[in-house]
């Protein structure tokens, strides 16, 4: 089951982008690109050669590897279908956050290695927003953790969408998912305007298999967040293994659908307002945490 879920994640993660784009297209009254477009892109990129700028060094080539390695390992920490992940130990949610910082580190360093103002711009924004999002992510998960257990497995089991603080924790994670995965309204993955981008502008110089790695890493990262959110939102642990497995899968795609809806209906925030947006996500988690600390729950 565990291996199956891992393989499924690897296979299906790029589909999330397809779902989001299809939803956006539907909402805008367009037909949209094929559901499997990300796969086609990946297949094309893997076969292509690479051009690197003369200013770059080993850092630039390492970045894409970190971008894949982080989410790959993070998958092993995720509880799946109400069952623990490959590892499950106290405080594994903090380790998850640190493992997920690996791709951020990789892409930012590679971006700065190009010596281009655009990539520096993206890295500078990513550094700021990533740093501000960190407390929100951890606070939400801590708030969701039951007194008895600090493992992701127990956190996922203790929460569901229709439970007092659960909805708020899920909202916090959804907002932070948008921030961490460079989605609207924080970042626009579809824009061509370098000056407004965050994630895309950092990877402008990558090409060929390295760009494929970054794209795949981004898809995996989105999968990790979506699957975590689904695990928290759905009462999977109370289901039989097979239905739970299916429900988790559907839930993960459901999160992608929600992201697609959000993207269809929102406009970009002005960049100076992004910290306030992150704070509002953080506040959702903090309220639950405060309630718990204050004994109000």
């Amino acid at each position: 089951m565990l291996v199956l879920s891992w393989i499924l994640a690897l296979v299906l993660a790029p589909l999330l982008f397809g779902i989001i784009n299809r939803i956006k297209a539907l909402m805008a009254g367009r037909r949209g690109r094929p559901l499997l477009q990300t796969y086609f892109d990946l297949a094309k990129l893997v076969r292509k050669g690479v051009v690197v700028s003369p200013t770059t060094s080993w850092v630039f080539r390492l970045g894409p590897m970190l971008a894949v390695a982080g989410p790959l390992v993070a998958l092993a920490l995720l509880p799946y279908a109400g069952r623990p992940g490959l590892w499950s130990f106290p405080m594994d949610f903090v380790v998850l956050a640190y493992v997920l910082a690996l791709p951020r580190l990789g892409t930012m360093l590679a971006a700065l290695d190009t010596g281009s103002s655009f990539e520096g711009m993206g890295a500078s924004r990513e550094a700021a927003f990533g740093a501000l999002a960190e407390p929100g992510f951890l606070a939400a998960l801590l708030a969701a953790a039951p007194q008895s257990g600090l493992r992701l497995e127990e956190i996922a089991a203790a929460q569901d969408l229709f439970h007092s603080g659960g909805a708020l924790v899920c909202l916090a994670l959804l907002l932070l998912l948008l921030v961490e995965n460079a989605r609207m309204p924080v970042d626009d993955p579809n824009t061509h305007l370098e000056l407004t981008m965050i994630h895309e502008v950092m990877v402008l110089d990558h090409s060929g298999p390295e760009l494929a790695a970054i794209t795949f890493g981004a898809a995996l990262k989105l999968w990790v967040f979506a699957a975590l959110l689904a695990a928290l939102a759905l009462p999977l642990e109370r289901m039989a293994p097979l239905p739970a497995f299916g429900a988790h899968l559907v839930g993960t795609f459901g999160v992608a659908a929600v992201v697609g809806m959000v993207e269809s209906l929102t406009a970009r925030l002005p960049l100076p307002r992004v910290p306030a947006f992150i704070l509002s996500g953080t506040a959702c988690g903090l309220v639950v945490l405060l309630m718990e600390v204050g004994g109000g729950r």
Binding site: A28, S117, L193, P272
Partner: protein, 493 residues
């Protein structure tokens, strides 16, 4: 100082030639008292010397004035006392090598080959205004852009996210149109005009025809004028709709952007219904228009305009009433009204700052009715104001088109054009969708073009864009740029 009406012509000799100092003071005084510098250029005299001409427009009195001076190799610059002249003086310096002394920023406005015949420099390599300090970095955007837009180079001086200064270097679209016109009109002339700025075909073509008609003393029939006006307003409708959609797209607001993208196409197709070309090429010729709008076609157009405008209204309302979109638009890229006036901005960009300036009201073309109401203006000159002005202009344009379609006057489509009289000169002003298009034509002793000056609205407005960016966010630049939506080829010619 000679003064005339926009449909009249005059002799070139009628323009008084002042000393450089008097010329400078006269222009500056006129601008202080409310005139606008619509064109300022150097042109050859009959004797072969180079003479500077300044065309001033008095919007309130609907009349034009002209002044000239013989500068020799240099003259005292107008820019320090009249910033509107800034860009014109740089152009004169670039093309003719006449130096405006004490010009604060004397450098070419277009990227071009080195004049001393040295090695061709790399694109955009020139001297930019530099903000010093170890923490300042530069951002060089362009000349190639990621979107499907024209080439241009933008050089930002930034501290992190804050733009300290922006300088724009253009010229990648330079085709030498003005240089190829003298000796005309010939068979190429009208095509040059139709493509001077691809999205402003109607504006430039009409301005060209109006200038020629003024020189020749031909007055096109009311029907031809009405068809011209319909095409001009359709061009305005298409571009404003497209601009609003693009603005929405740039902030990722999908509903409006996809709707407006389609609706812009609908407007273009209406122009195609009139003349077979979506941009209105081949419709207007000196003396009138080539294609007629028969009653059934008028009915079809009317139907289409009504439904499309209704859809546009819905999409734009969704956009401008969405609080997320408003958050993005409000107080972003603002320009104070006094800057807009002093820099001589035109078109929706100027009106959004609160400047009442629209040539459809100030210099109406003969037999064309005024649009209903007053020119649309905004407050604050921010992105929201520029979007609102466009939304209002869509309404007035649609109303005008409907009115014209319902009561199309009669008359011949195309009048024959006589040979142009010698030694005459005319200025035409057309409010195209982007702003004022100005054509200045003079004929030589045989009735051919002695020289021809085209001023696209972008020429006035590019510097306004740089002013908007000072001290704002670099991430706001794409939106600000889009809200001005200036032409590169219209500027570069």
């Amino acid at each position: 100082m000679v003064e005339w009406h926009v449909h009249d012509s005059l002799t070139v000799e009628a323009i008084p030639v002042l000393t450089a100092e008097d010329f400078r003071m006269a222009v500056a005084n006129a601008v202080d008292q409310g005139a606008r510098l619509v064109a300022f250029f150097a042109a050859p005299t009959v004797g072969g010397a180079t003479r500077l001409y300044a065309i001033l427009a008095w919007d309130g009195r609907s009349c034009l004035q002209a002044l000239a001076t013989d500068p020799g190799f240099g003259y005292p610059s107008l820019t320090p006392i009249c910033p509107q002249a800034h860009w014109f003086e740089r152009e004169i310096f670039e093309v003719h090598g006449i130096t405006p002394h004490n010009h604060p920023w004397l450098k070419p406005i277009r990227f071009h080959d080195r004049q001393d015949g040295g090695e061709r420099p790399a694109p955009c390599v020139t001297e930019y205004f530099t903000v010093h300090g170890s923490e300042v970095h530069e951002v060089a955007v362009g000349p190639v852009h990621a979107g499907i837009i024209e080439p241009g180079h933008f050089r930002f001086q930034c501290l992190g996210e804050t733009v300290l200064h922006l300088e724009i270097s253009l010229g990648y679209q330079h085709r030498g149109i003005e240089a190829q016109l003298p000796g005309g009109p010939d068979r190429r002339t009208i095509h040059f005009m139709e493509t001077a700025a691809g999205d402003t075909t109607m504006g430039h073509t009409w301005a060209h025809c109006a200038a020629l008609e003024a020189i020749a003393g031909v007055r096109p029939s009311p029907r031809a004028q009405a068809i011209r006006a319909i095409a001009l307003e359709l061009e305005r409708l298409a571009n404003h709709t497209g601009d609003l959609g693009a603005l929405a797209l740039d902030m990722g607001f999908l509903p409006t952007s996809s709707f407006c993208g389609r609706l812009r196409g609908d407007f273009l197709n209406m122009t195609a219904l009139v003349c077979g070309n979506r941009f209105g090429r081949g419709l207007v010729r000196p003396g009138g228009v080539v294609w007629d709008i028969e009653p059934e076609r008028a009915q079809e157009l009317l139907r289409r305009v009504r439904t499309t405008v209704r859809d546009v209204r819905g999409a734009v309302r969704l956009f401008l009433e969405s609080s997320m979109a408003r958050n993005r638009l409000e107080n972003t890229g603002a320009l104070a009204v006094e800057h807009a006036v002093r820099l001589g901005l035109v078109g929706p960009a100027a009106r959004a700052c609160g400047v009442v300036r629209d040539d459809r009201w100030s210099y109406p073309q003969p037999d064309v009715p005024l649009p209903a109401g007053t020119p649309a203006t905004g407050e604050g000159g921010d992105l929201l104001a520029r979007a609102m002005v466009r939304a209002q202009e869509i309404e007035t344009s649609a109303a005008l088109v409907e009115r014209l379609l319902q009561e199309l006057p009669h008359g011949p489509l195309l009048l024959p054009m006589p040979k142009l009289p010698p030694q005459r000169m005319a200025v035409s002003l057309i409010e195209a969708w982007r702003g004022e298009v100005c054509h200045v034509v003079a004929t030589d002793g045989e009735g051919r073009f002695a020289w021809y000056k085209v001023v696209d609205p972008s020429f006035h407005n590019w510097f306004g864009l740089t002013m908007v960016l000072r001290g704002t966010e670099i991430s706001d630049f794409p939106l600000c740029n889009k809200s001005f939506n200036l032409s590169y080829c219209g500027h570069d010619l």
